[in-house]
Symmetry: C2
Subunit: 312 residues, 2 copies
């Protein structure tokens, strides 16, 4: 298995990225090769700095860098030799099994759409997040920010895609799918949520368990939380902020630690023909290491081909 | 000052309501009279049960009760002598200065619209919530559930109304108004959020400080948080759930205690011609007591007449 990592993307790149990759390389099985994409010299220096002498890290040179603030589409067309551009070429040509970056999220999304493309039948790929549950494990929430405006049919697909993802990546036989809403009854919510409820209820591809509310976020009401990318992004970021908040208040608990973005380290783009994982701009070495575990799990699960089969 | 309380509304009514009123009566100044609306005999028995012998609680009899699950409009027209119906008559006829209930939220909203009515120029009254801030105090969030579907112009008004509310009820000279969104830049968000940003930015009635994100919820980015009732409801309920969660995890802190719904006890309907406060169905006596403090503060602030002046 070969996992490509954008060495140049992220607020603390390339240093934190390479350090995280070295941490991961020491823990991952020997059949996993990590391909660092970026400026060769810089990466080599950092691998030396972090005393990496193994053989499971390779470097693919990329001359340019897409900066965090750049316009995604423009940046990618003007910088085909950026680390993101090169990473997607590797993925498209099947020279790697996954591509991960803590860089410009928009460029990662656009790059995925242009290179490996959306799965046929998928209206809009989305970003999936992982929400720790008080009962243990994680729920998958789709979408956490790719699509701020959603039609009911898109929400239905988020449920179907999320369900297959949870089934194959987390090994849950019949994932419970719930719609994030403002009340339990089916006539509750925005016009879009009301219409989505009916579509989800009628879908024979999923195990729809009805609406859930904001207070249920950590309460094991569902394995898959369906929401538009506007509400989902706000809710997910609020959830992640609990870690920092409890730390500042001097509170500590294994569960609140899990709300830390570092604990999973990445969010997959789902609904595209390949494994693409994006990480927080602020990613630390630990986050990068954990993102690589997620990438490995996702490659093994082969979830994206299962999604393609289910939607064809 | 006379504050009416629906003795019959709420999961633990009338017992918890009367107990909370007795707690409040002992603490509030003598010029505050609490008017309990509901079945006279039942209320009298409960006042005896809680050893109330003062003179600042009155009873106004109401024969019927709107149940929690009833259809708001139907229930109010079929039960004009319900405690909610009678409470709004008292408010409309200015026999009381505020009306509070932990009963059927929809009936409270419809009752307010039919009796005291929306302020002229207000497109849609909304429900305001109070969000404790890590730096101390509370931010006001509008809307937390009255309007699941919002136009940009409604969001602008939520900002203007919330700003006046914060100014007069909390004594903040120039409240900072922020739009809950999925990024800081002004082109971020749903189409509605993007359009609302421009309206808020151009408004000369408020001190607009731009977008805020989910992770900023408790972080003193704004005194007034503007959001549609769908996102706002989900986010607010998630925030309230932190208290229960930390308690279950064995964590305790003055701040997380404040996320408990009991700490404020009620949410005003803003944009109507009077003081209407709704409380959680599960309201405890403590929540009812705190709701009465809020009602007193709101009556003193005279915020609703200031809102009417500003929008006329």
């Amino acid at each position: 298995m070969r996992i490509a990592v954008d060495a140049m993307g992220g607020d603390f790149a390339p240093d934190a990225i390479v350090e995280g990759v070295v941490m991961a390389a020491k823990e991952l099985p020997s059949d996993v090769t990590i391909v660092l994409v970026g400026k060769q010299r810089v990466i080599e220096d950092l691998l030396r700095k972090y005393n990496y002498a193994g053989s499971s890290v390779e470097i693919v040179h990329a001359e340019d860098v897409v900066e965090m603030g750049e316009h995604p589409t423009k940046a990618l067309s003007q910088k085909p030799n950026s680390s993101i551009g090169v990473g997607f070429k590797l993925l498209r040509d099947k020279l790697v099994d996954a591509f991960c970056s803590a860089g410009n999220t928009g460029a990662m999304h656009v790059g995925a759409l242009f290179s490996i493309k959306a799965i046929e039948g998928v209206m809009r790929p989305a970003i999936a997040g992982f929400v720790p549950q008080l009962s243990g494990g994680f729920a998958v929430i789709v979408d956490i920010g790719a699509n701020a405006d959603c039609k009911p049919e898109m929400l239905l697909q988020f449920g179907e895609i999320g369900s297959i993802y949870a089934q194959y990546t987390f090994g849950i036989a019949k994932p419970r799918v719930a719609l994030m809403n403002i009340g339990e009854e089916e006539q509750k919510g925005s016009l879009i949520a009301q219409a989505a409820y009916q579509l989800l209820k009628d879908s024979r591809k999923i195990n729809f368990v009805g609406n859930m509310e904001g207070g249920d976020f950590f309460r094991d009401k569902a394995d898959v939380i369906v929401t538009d990318g506007f509400t989902g992004n706000i809710l997910f970021k609020m959830g992640e902020s609990i870690y920092e908040m409890t730390k500042e208040l001097g509170l500590s608990h294994e569960f609140t630690d899990k709300t830390n973005y570092e604990s999973v380290g990445g969010s997959p783009i789902v609904g595209v023909n390949g494994n693409v994982i994006i990480a927080h701009g602020i990613s630390s070495p630990l986050a990068i290491k954990n993102m690589l575990s997620l990438a490995k799990k996702q490659v093994e699960s082969n979830a994206y081909t299962k999604i393609a089969q289910a939607l064809s």
